[in-house]
Amino acid sequence: MAMLTSATSLLALLDEPDQSLQVYALENLNQLADEFWPEIADYVTKIEELYEDDKFPQSKLAALVASKVYYNLAEFDQSMQFALAAGDLFDLSLKTEYVETIVSKCIDSYIRSSQEAFDAQLKDQAEVAPDPNLVDVVERMFRRCIEEGEHKHAIGVALEARRLDTIEACINHAFQGGLTNGKIKSADRRFLSDGVNGVDDQAKKSEAAGAELINYVFEASMALVANKRWRDEVLHRMVELVESLHNPDYFTVAKILVHLNAADKAGQHILDLLTENTETSLLIAYQIAFDLVSSTSQEFLAKVVQMVEGSSTPGTSQALKILSGVPTLDVELTFLYDNNKTDLLILNKTKETLEARNSIFHNAVTFENAFLHAGTTADGFFRDNLEWLSRAMNWSKFSATAALGVIHKGNLSQGMNLLRPYLPGDSASQAGGSKYSQGGSLYALGLVFAGHGKDVLDFLRRYIREGSNSGGQEGEVVQHGAALGVGVAGMATCDDDIYEELKNVLFSDSAVAGEAAGLAMGLVMLGSGSEKALEEMLQYAHETQHEKIIRGLAVGIALLMYGKEEAADALIDQLLDEQDPILRYGGIFTVALAYCGTGNNTAIKRLLHVAVSDVNDDVRRASVMALGFILFRNPTAVPRMVELLSESYNPHVRYGAALALGISCAGTGLSEAIDLLEPMLKDPTDFVRQGALISLAMIYIQQNEKTTPKVTSVRKTFAKVISEKHEDAMAKFGAALAQGIIDGGGRNVTISLENRQTGTLNMEAIVGIAVFLQFWYWFPLTCFLSLSFTPTAIIGVRSDLKIPEFSFFCNAKSSKFDYPPKTEEQTSKAPEKVATAVLSTTARAKARAKKSEKEKAEAEIEMEVDEKEPTAIEAEEEPSKMEVEGAEKEQEDEAEEDEEEEYDEEIAEDEIEDKQDIKGYKVQNMSRVLPAQLKYISFSRDERFTPVKKFRSSGGILVVRDSLGLRVKTPFIKTVRERNLPPEEQDEEDEAVVPEPFDYETDTEL
């Protein structure tokens, strides 16, 4: 038969009155639609009429033809409508482009409509049910996916389309033997095997696989589901599903519960485990307790403690002890204390260069010192430089005292004793104590007990109350410190009494105290979203005349909405419409904190809009910085996003871009970010240079020249900026902070806005950075950055909370991978070299150094370098370690004898290991393990100590199982607290750790 060259003849039939002719024409057109659609398109209205004609027998066929024509006309929406109208005639199983396109259109529009329905439900509006035909097609797709074992596809669509029942159906189907399906990919198999968990013969295998599955759903819903309410719904259901299994994975459940903020359930889990009372269940309970401590708020923990307290099983007391948070802090403090690798030379050099009479430089050195020694308890620098310290005046003194809190952060056992000499109150020294050091010490106390404030809150609150009585400017300073202290220590307690007391301070309308009170109110009620607090704070912000108070309140309000996502939208809209730029500034921070880490597109759009359109520089700066908070889970996206902003004509926007990079890429060493920041180091505006310096340090924290070769030159730049005579003060301040951050916490901490154990937001870190950013207005807030320092270590803890000495395996060539224990030495060595290089090149500096009685120190440095030059790495280990110890000796007066023994042991072991060190090497318990190194770490099953939780590249505290039992003796690493406990043995040491108070007062009255 000759080929048809035109469909005109068939189309003419459509106009015939006889329906059978019309049907005949349609049947033929259906076949020919793809070829003659340009002609048929003119008749499409006629075909539509036939479809709408009730009397026409084949209206569905007409719809199908119309659909095909519209498809060819690239009118996909209409094509979809008609395809749906065609009902059964639209054959889903055909694998043609037409069917695939229409089906994907269907799914898209179904997802859209069901999301709208879900949102409508949320707002109690009338639901708009999706087109039943559409539902039918999607249901058919779901059924087909499930039948063919494509569960992952179905789940993906179901997650988007808010279909919990389909997710369950998939899992149930898998439960009934989906495993046999050969088509499934590995990810799905993990998924499916969950269903057979506990029933299958390979129970063990499927148990692991089951955990993988829940993780998959967990991660998928975390990463892809933007709607918080729906996400929570899915996660709740997942928890129920896991719980119904025979052998649930408690860690995954705990993870989800932390995310859901479901303290009751978490408490119940721990109770269940304690009641079970087997060795394993106790260990699991302890591990979960540790995880909870490291990743949840005080309020959450308090609820869990409340639930656990009722129990009377043997493990209860131990669990409660862990939940109190003391062991965690204790162990981390010990780690930081023992491994402190601070390079005092850098600090001394900076101190020499920056003129202390200028208070900004004094502050700079104070903060550098605070960051360098954060959490290490090494406050030797202060005591070595009493004369320098005494130059601190007024608020500098406040900051200097607060810095002491940063250094002793987490030192719960001695914090109070250490600070007693400065605290206001009835002690003898109080008479001479200035109000600034008193206020600073209260703030310091808060920092020491940051996030674990039970013991000191009452003490601090006293000064909030009293301050209002004493009045006057002096009283304000104390109140300011006390309010900040309460805020930090009582973070996220949601304690109404504290809130009320802070409110009273606020209502006294004193600018200094009010600012801190506003901030502290936000910190105490962190993430509560409390309506009452919001209303009161906002109202007062409108009433008061003091900009400082408004600013404190604005940031406080932002803190209230931490992690609230959509729930904060109304407030954000309100704040961004405010007349007062400070409140708009607060609105931007509300966006940042409410949507922190979500990558939410609406939030990003809003921020980008404000960043280029607001009339106020502060607001624009804040909105660019806020991008860093929202995108920190996806750091690679940030450089591209802020690339243009980083070249804005407006220096505030450039500054914001710099810090957005610093926040989002902290600790990653991401080269794209560096490429943007490096030009900013030469920016004509001083504060942009400051921002670039700080951000570089945040990104390069804990990086060495092997992972990121540029780090050496960056460190040089820091030193250069500080030593440059004509550099602006702002930039120098930034460089000093940068030096502090890059080697923060004795080089053992990183900045991470996410909890590695649970993948949830690291609340303390996020809040720490958010408040730190306010240092633009108020230097003492700089100390808040220390809250975001997270120790990078793997610390194995036995069920009796002792830290046994054992080792685990790092599966990377030490030459290839940079973070074996000895490379750790190299990391700490490299900057020292830099320091000396600067000394030798800058002749003048050297000369001055010589003059200033530092010849001895000089000699030491040179020796040090000489010793380190030879490449026999093991040989270096000892002298360099000794060197550090030497430094510590200077600070601590005396070093502990038993510790030295420990070192010797370690060294001996290291030497043996090094000989077999071709592929991989052993790492001692409680030593630094970098985030990038974690994936190479493994535990041997044959070892005496193995972690109870399957090691999944998350560091922190791991509860280990002791295969030989608790009675078999093993060497332990004593914690700092234990070392201080028995008084009769450690007379001298008491002195070492609780040093004499610094004598500020000699010069201050000049």
Binding site: M3, T5, S6, D34, E35, F36, W37, P38, E39, A41, D42, Y71, N72, L73, A74, E97, T101, E647, P679, K682, P684, K725, H726
Partner: protein, 502 residues
């Protein structure tokens, strides 16, 4: 019957903008030439790689621009070496195919083919397709249609196996040669469903070049069988991507112009053709296309009652090709019907070959109209009888009808006195007192502005140019800083000389 294929080979060449540098320096040994060509091809591979990696269609376009130059220099030896360079082993699917069609190594091939399928290393699809296109071109130039067609079928199968955005431009080229091959083989109608299907696919995938090329090919296909109304439907219903390569746009506009002309929409046709002529590359390589477009344009202008500018006919590129049309224009201009008939008779074969014969036949009316107009301009009053004699019309009545029609169409401004049998011309209007010049200016300004806008859009800005400026600012700041420090350190005495320099 019109035979558009005659101009096609020339049309391909219009893509090419290189000068014939190497044809001038002919005296070279064959080895040298081979090496040179191979070098070019390998350079093209590099560009294709860049195009694929950076998602820069610019590089693919650049490679395709060189195709016309390259095709004249292709030899079987070069192609074999190209295959060696492009594919890791001669047993690769495409390589085997090409070698088969080149008639090389067939015996060894068969052995390899069976064993190779499992472990063929990956070749960049862009390079794969490029080499296949090279062979298509080669086979086409050899004139071996049977071979070309069977090869085309296999090459297209390979092409449709890929789904990559970066292949867009290359795929468009391949489809062009495919369709052309089919056309030469007289398989025009059979080709249609496939082209439509591929057009749909490329629309779904947002492959601009392929979409544009296939739309054009389909139009050509329809016009080939005189399916004007179907072609017209297609034009109405398909969104032609404006961002496609200008050569394809030009060709599309040409076809649209033809369709419109046949459908009596002369002004639209004229616009399309002006667009086509402007968009086409103005080089000797595109001469065939430009000639065809001009021929059509001449006819359309005549149909619209305008007289084409004489200067076009003197351009060396068109002089010979347009000479029959020149005669035609002369006849129409004077309004002499016998001369017109003579011209048609004389050049009928040429016009038929150009596919303009049917349109030219419509001109008869215009000739008469022009005649009337000439007369209305020359005489303020003329009897219908004189008109009848002048225009060689059958009767006075028909003259009356024709004049009436001309008045109604606005060709002349006149009235007819039926009783006395004469035509009375009105006073000639001063055109400058009407809106006409305004409109004309408006048209031109609009055209200039859109041309400007399009050029701005088409411009490429060097990346990171502003960084250089930033650097200058930085340097200035550095200098200032140095100066400041020098002043402060009191080193001024030594630097006096420097200051003079400043």
């Amino acid at each position: 019957m019109p035979a558009p294929e005659s101009k096609e080979p020339k049309m391909d060449n219009k893509d090419e903008k290189m000068t014939d540098a190497d044809t001038v320096q002919k005296p070279k040994s064959p080895e040298e030439i081979t090496a040179l060509v191979l070098n070019d091809i390998k350079q093209n591979f590099v560009f294709l790689d860049k195009a694929a990696v950076n998602f820069e269609p610019r590089f693919s376009m650049r490679v395709l621009r060189g195709l016309g130059n390259l095709r004249r220099r292709l030899t079987p030896d070069i192609l074999v070496s190209t295959v060696d360079a492009a594919y890791p082993s001669p047993s690769h699917k495409s390589a085997a195919l090409i070698l088969k069609y080149l008639g090389k190594e067939e015996s060894t091939m068969e052995v390899d083919e069976s064993s190779s399928d499992s472990s063929t290393p990956v070749v960049l699809p862009e390079i794969d397709i490029y080499v296949l296109v090279l062979l298509q071109v080669y086979l086409l130039d050899q004139g071996d249609l049977v071979k070309l067609n069977s090869f085309n079928d296999e090459a297209i199968t390979i092409l449709r196996g890929y789904n990559r955005r970066t292949l867009d431009a290359l795929a468009a080229k391949m489809w062009f040669y495919y369709a052309y091959g089919k056309e030469l083989n007289k398989q025009v109608v059979e080709l249609r469903p496939l082209l439509l299907a591929v057009l749909r696919t490329s629309t779904l995938r947002h492959d601009t070049e392929t979409r544009a090329m296939l739309t054009t090919l389909l139009l050509r296909n329809y016009l080939h069988t005189q399916a004007i109304s179907q072609a017209h439907q297609l034009v109405l219903k398909v969104d032609f991507p404006e961002s496609a390569a200008t050569s394809v746009v030009a060709r599309y506009l040409y076809y649209v112009g033809r369709i419109k002309a046949i459908q009596l929409d002369y002004s639209a046709a004229n616009e399309s053709l002006i667009g086509a002529i402007r968009k086409a590359p103005q080089t000797s390589y595109a001469a065939g296309f430009l000639q065809a477009a001009h021929k059509l344009k001449v006819i359309i202008e005549l149909l619209m009652g305008d007289i084409p500018e004489r200067s076009w006919f003197r351009e060396p590129m068109y002089e010979k090709a347009l000479s029959p049309y020149m005669d035609l224009v002369k006849a129409v201009r004077i309004g002499e019907v016998p001369q017109f008939s003579d011209t048609i008779e004389k050049y009928g074969a040429v016009f038929k070959k150009d596919g303009t014969y049917m349109l030219i036949l419509r001109l008869r009316q215009n000739v008469i109209k022009t005649g009337i107009r000439m007369m209305s301009l020359s005489y303020s009053k003329i009897s219908l009888r004189d008109i009848c004699i002048r225009l060689h019309l059958d009767s006075e009545e028909s003259a009356e009808y024709i004049v009436a029609k001309a008045i109604r169409d606005g060709v002349i401004e006149a009235t007819i006195d039926h009783e006395k049998g004469f035509m009375q011309s009105k006073e000639i209007l001063d055109i400058y007192s009407t809106q006409e010049p305004n409109m004309a200016f408006h048209e031109r300004i609009k055209f200039c502005i859109s041309l400007h806008n399009e050029s701005v859009k088409a411009m490429r800005y060097p990346m990171n140019q502003h960084r250089v400026e930033l650097k200058n600012v930085e340097e200035a700041r550095e200098r200032e800083k140095e100066l400041a420090s020098e002043i402060q350190e009191g080193d001024m005495e030594d630097d006096d000389g420097d200051f003079d320099g400043l």
